[in-house]
Symmetry: C2
Subunit: 356 residues, 2 copies
Amino acid sequence: MAKYQDIAEELKQKILRNEYERNTTIPSEFKLQEIYNVSRHTIRQAIAVLVNEGYLRKEKGSGTYVDDRYKTEKMMQNRNKTIGVITTYLSDYIFPSIIRGIENELRKYGYSLLLASTNNDHELEKECLEKMIDYGVDGLIVEPTKSSQYNPNLALYVRLREQIPMVMINAVYEELNASYICLDDVKVGFMAAEHLIRKGHQHLLFITKIDDLQGKYRMKGFISACERYNVHFLPEDVITFTTETRKTIIGKTLQRLKEKPELSGIICYNDQIASLLVDELTENGYQIPEDLSIMGTDDSSLSQIGNKKLTTLTHPKEKLGSDAADWIVKTIEEGNAQPNILYEPVLVERDSVKEK
Amino acid sequence: MAKYQDIAEELKQKILRNEYERNTTIPSEFKLQEIYNVSRHTIRQAIAVLVNEGYLRKEKGSGTYVDDRYKTEKMMQNRNKTIGVITTYLSDYIFPSIIRGIENELRKYGYSLLLASTNNDHELEKECLEKMIDYGVDGLIVEPTKSSQYNPNLALYVRLREQIPMVMINAVYEELNASYICLDDVKVGFMAAEHLIRKGHQHLLFITKIDDLQGKYRMKGFISACERYNVHFLPEDVITFTTETRKTIIGKTLQRLKEKPELSGIICYNDQIASLLVDELTENGYQIPEDLSIMGTDDSSLSQIGNKKLTTLTHPKEKLGSDAADWIVKTIEEGNAQPNILYEPVLVERDSVKEK
DNA sequence: TTCAATTTGTTCGTATGTATC
DNA sequence: GGATACATACGAACAAATTGA
């Protein structure tokens, strides 16, 4: 260790032990030179180190003062421990639960949560990602925006992933080969169809969202269940929608029900659609579940609130959030990626499905 | 300007103009000494400045290299434009809407949102506040935790307010004299009671939360309406609860209704309680609104979902969030505090109240 | 107001040690 | 091993700012 470093260390200790008070001068260069019995230059080097680290401040003609800039500089460095969370929506449906799960878990680890939402729009997604990069978050939890469509921000994602750990929730861009924590949506579709089929329903209507992968996978599961149980359906028996065309569902469904009266079971993309549909169908004279059996998915609070409690499939929600937080913190602190998680849905039988 | 500073400045310009490429050496100290015709010591001082600022990196025995650490250091300084948001809850009731309002508005201004929740617990509130201080957020939006009780964190709040702008939403600690953006809760209580009284109800039950100020103010409004319209009530006609004793409400209410059958109107602390109560009362054989008129408040989604659509009073929710975001950004950027906001509730008549 | 003492700022010179290529 | 380049250390002098008598 060099002399000037020894002296710097000793001075630093004295400052930290409050032997020199804040905003008071330390001995002059000349005195220190005598105290430590070295050249003035060596003293100046030692002082330069501490000025640099924010422990001292020099004033020409006056003296060298004890400073506490180092405290704020420490904080600057310590301002890590922040996880960025990007979701499509914030306040709707199951998202608040997921975010709560993340927040609760991050708090346990002493991490903070930087939040942004994309409103399911690629432009906003880009802004969010750039903000997160600028910010220097230590990890990212992302719910993909319009996951089934081509994503113009893939290059950004790749760049981000090289720099910090990232995990996707609810879905994962197929091109990206990223880590994920998701519900097994194929199984969701399969089990929903299977349940209705086992209850004797042979003519099913499937309503699904096609701008995200959840919808695509649930449809895949639906189709595979139909094949397995030899249930036939027409292309018209699958009603699709996107974020932008959500409002057209009710009309399409009512029309299809008129065209094909033997339809007795409807599988909805989620409880939100199911809940809406139950209300609208009831107003249009259908009895649920006597005339039509309806399945939601996600076991959201909506499924227990309405006039008819919905038969549905579970979504881990808060658990998914806390697992995602867990994943990201462990990956950061242990340095290697944790395993992916795929949750199995569980059937929740309530009042919207009836044996035929 | 000192020689070494001139030299440092000139070198810096050359680096910024890419005359020295990244990760290549600049001329050695000896050569620079000849170029600028100064002593080696002066050269060393100039170089020390740039090393410190992140433009250069020295490698013993090899040379002095052009570095770009300064870029990341610039970002560090630029890491402002973040607003901390502390609420009691994240995922429940009207909070998601408020947070969405904040997030949407902050995004427009290019600010980020750092989120934390207290679960209505003072210990966690303290942790949140300290995290925010450490973090160096530029402003704070706080929903008070247990606002009607003594708050052990007041000193922290005072310290914070001295450093950065802060605005409270939904309620404000009475001791703190802070800026606020709130619903006029006295008026909420008053209007709820007034509406039932005008509908002919003379015997009212009031259910309110007493660990936050919203509940206290709403009760104040209730009392003042009763006095104004000469409606009498007994102490037992006010049922109070706290975060911890929420579950006891139903039992207490059912008992009180038995004790005093002439009770015909119930005012609930909010839609959450009202919605729960409607369900429980229905199960216990009461007809809503034939036997009992029930008022919620906040006009939450719950008021439109259940079996009975609730008559309720508006809460600005998302508007409150965006106004809070607006307040904090303007206060930061214009330097002086914006005016407080107090929203007037508006009556929303639905199906849970009937003329007597 | 002035002036002298004190303190840091800047520059020059020199020598030796140590890591890299 | 030798040349090169940075690291550490000591000595000396003058400049510029501050402070207090």
